[in-house]
């Protein structure tokens, strides 16, 4: 089954992705990101949805519903404003959830 890849972010951060064949969903209004994500995730056309870290955080509630499904995989990526370390924090959260304490990042 072949599915597409989507990216959600502000126009500044994601404009390049269109050139490599990823579907862009520009979201310059951060508060709209949740709704936009929901719409995209519910179409079931996308296997991977990349989101800029800012929007990733804001749409936590909407993402929660899809957390137990194998697809779509929702992955935070740094935006043009720089890396805020949310992806890394997410990883250490996984380790903490599984192991009980963060043994990987050592804090």
């Amino acid at each position: 089954m072949v599915k597409n890849i989507a990216v959600i972010g502000d126009s500044e951060s994601i404009k390049g992705f269109g050139a490599v064949g990823i579907d862009m969903f520009i979201c310059d209004e951060p508060l709209e990101s949740g709704n936009l994500f929901k719409r995209i995730a519910e179409t079931d056309d996308y296997a991977i949805i990349y989101m800029t870290e800012e929007l990733f955080e804001l749409s936590a509630k909407e993402r929660h519903k899809f957390a137990d499904n194998a697809i779509p995989a929702v992955i935070p990526i740094p935006s043009a404003q720089g890396n805020r370390g949310i992806g890394r924090k997410r990883l250490s959260k996984f380790v903490e959830q599984a192991v009980g304490s963060d043994i990987l990042f050592g804090n």
């Binding site: 089954m1 072949v2 890849i5 404009k15 390049g16 296997a47 043009a80 996984f94 990987l104």
Partner: protein, 218 residues
């Protein structure tokens, strides 16, 4: 630990003993599952960490290229050259089962891609070419990252669930069964003793009544 609310009968005890055996076996199996999941999770999460660091560094590089490109080109021309891409990148979705956790496997499928640039070179800067080539290079890693990160997410949730089950069996269910079985055994012994003494007493009384004779010469 609370004793279960059951009738202290022999049948109930047999039933509980069977349940205890099942609980012990389940506990052992779940513990094995947890350990194996944990081993694989740690491996995966280490890979994930490396991959994320790499991808984030590469994306930052891309962004720098784009910033440079937008500095030398006007916004409209830049946007239109990026929008005019024909090809579509997709992923073939497959699944793998790691210890009963269904994790996705993604492999990149690119249609209509002759390796060429999505736009003409005439009115664009070389910075833009760099940015797009760079982004094309990141793409496989980006997809791999999605795969491992989703797997980590699913496995972390499964490990947490399994650990809860193991703990609940180990610290609640099994002690409760043991306690209840002990309680029933004691109760049965107690009944046994009380009926025995009653019988002895009755025998004494009967003997005394019939022969004026007492077994225990008191």
């Amino acid at each position: 630990m609370a004793v279960m609310n059951v009738n202290p009968t022999r049948m109930q005890m047999t039933k509980l003993k069977k349940q205890l055996q099942i609980a012990r076996r389940g506990h052992k199996m779940l513990k094995d599952k947890r350990d194996e999941l944990m081993r694989q999770f740690i491996e995966l999460v280490k890979e994930n960490k490396k991959l994320r660091e790499k991808v984030e560094a590469q994306l930052e590089e891309c962004n720098n290229h784009f910033i440079n490109a937008s500095a030398v080109m006007n916004k409209k021309a830049l946007d239109s050259s990026l929008m005019s891409s024909k090809h579509q990148t997709g992923v073939e979705v497959d699944g793998k089962n790691i210890m009963s956790v269904d994790v996705p496997l993604f492999s990149q499928v690119q249609e209509d891609n002759d390796g060429g640039s999505p736009y003409g070179f005439a009115f664009t800067s070389f910075e833009l070419d760099d940015a797009v080539t760079e982004l094309n290079k990141v793409l496989p890693d980006l997809i791999k990252l999605a795969e491992t990160e989703k797997s980590c997410e699913l496995m972390a949730a499964e490990i947490e669930r399994t650990r809860r089950r193991v703990n609940s069996l180990e610290h609640v269910m099994i002690p409760r069964y043991e306690e209840t079985i002990k309680y029933i055994a004691m109760k049965l012994e107690e009944n046994d003793r009380s009926s025995r003494t009653r019988l002895m007493k009755v025998k004494d009384m009967l003997l005394e009544k019939a022969h004026g004779y007492s077994m225990h010469n008191s």
